[in-house]
């Protein structure tokens, strides 16, 4: 049990760190949003699962379960709203150049 808790907490730290690295590395808003939303969700989810495992079967862990469900609903909606705003403003997504093509 204790090993499982450590594994989940470690996963949370790992994903949080690499998500931030992805935000720094990627070229434009849409790809950065992808990195931050995906890794952020996974890191927080693992930390919540670890805290549920620590508490065992008690009313407290039921409350944490409810928080997790709300988080699973709200977090994708937040990143969707940012993406939608950028799309409606007309920001053009970054595209990879074809290897054989000359520039301009």
């Amino acid at each position: 049990m204790r090993i499982l808790i450590y594994v989940f907490l470690g996963l949370g730290m790992f994903f949080g760190l690499l998500g931030n690295l992805g935000v720094l590395r990627f070229p434009d808003i849409y790809t950065r949003l992808q990195a931050s939303s995906k890794c952020g969700i996974t890191s927080l989810l693992s930390i919540l699962i670890a805290s549920m495992l620590i508490k065992g079967i008690t009313p407290m862990s039921g409350r944490i379960l409810v928080i997790t469900l709300f988080f699973l609903i709200t977090s994708p909606v937040a990143s969707h709203i940012i993406g939608k705003r950028a799309w409606e403003e007309g920001l053009i997504p970054w595209r990879r150049k074809k290897p054989g093509k000359k520039e301009n």
């Binding site: 992805g22 849409y30 790809t31 992808q34 409810v66 699973l72 969707h80 950028a86 997504p93 595209r95």
Partner: protein, 171 residues
């Protein structure tokens, strides 16, 4: 013969207060009779004010109100497993930096609005896809490792098995 609108109004109020009572019991965490009585009265009075926002009138006839709960639980488990797989793929793409982003458009066959919202959320959670816009049944998706730009084929690849299961849950 009661008025049809009145009948559905009563159903909506009762369903809203039931959802609220479940929330009350989870958050107070005790089953004393006085606490439950208090929960019922307050849920009923709140439901009288808010049923119109919580359950819209045109959503009422379909099976949108009471999904099949056991299938929903299975769906949730599969979704969490897929989120973990997606994150590991994301970490690999972050390290290698090999991306080919495109924007694709496609349609969905789901009827209920709750099911559509859940489909859009699941697409945002799975590997390398981000929902940019959801208008009726038309989805615009940003895809990090695009294999194709053909609308129908891309829809099949991205939606995967989600749409099949959601159709079973909400009909």
């Amino acid at each position: 013969m009661i008025n049809v609108f009145l009948k559905w109004k009563i159903v909506r109020v009762i369903l809203t207060s039931l959802y609220l009572v479940v929330g009350w019991i989870l958050f107070t965490g005790n089953l004393a009779p006085f606490s439950i009585f208090l929960g019922f009265t307050f849920s009923f009075s709140v439901a009288l004010f808010t049923y119109n926002i919580f359950i819209e009138e045109r959503e009422v006839a379909r099976r949108a109100l009471l999904p099949r709960a056991y299938l929903l639980l299975i769906y949730l488990g599969v979704l969490i497993f897929k989120i973990y797989l997606a994150s590991f793929k994301m970490v690999l793409t972050i390290i290698t930096g090999d991306i080919n982003p495109r924007v694709v458009h496609f349609r969905t066959g789901l009827r209920s609005e709750v099911a559509r919202v859940i489909l859009a959320n699941s697409i945002t959670l799975t590997p390398g896809t981000l929902t940019l816009s959801l208008d009726q049944d038309h989805l615009i998706v940003h895809w990090l490792n695009a294999k194709t730009t053909h609308s129908h084929y891309a829809g099949k690849l991205i939606k995967g098995s989600f749409e099949f299961w959601l159709k079973k849950i909400w009909i």
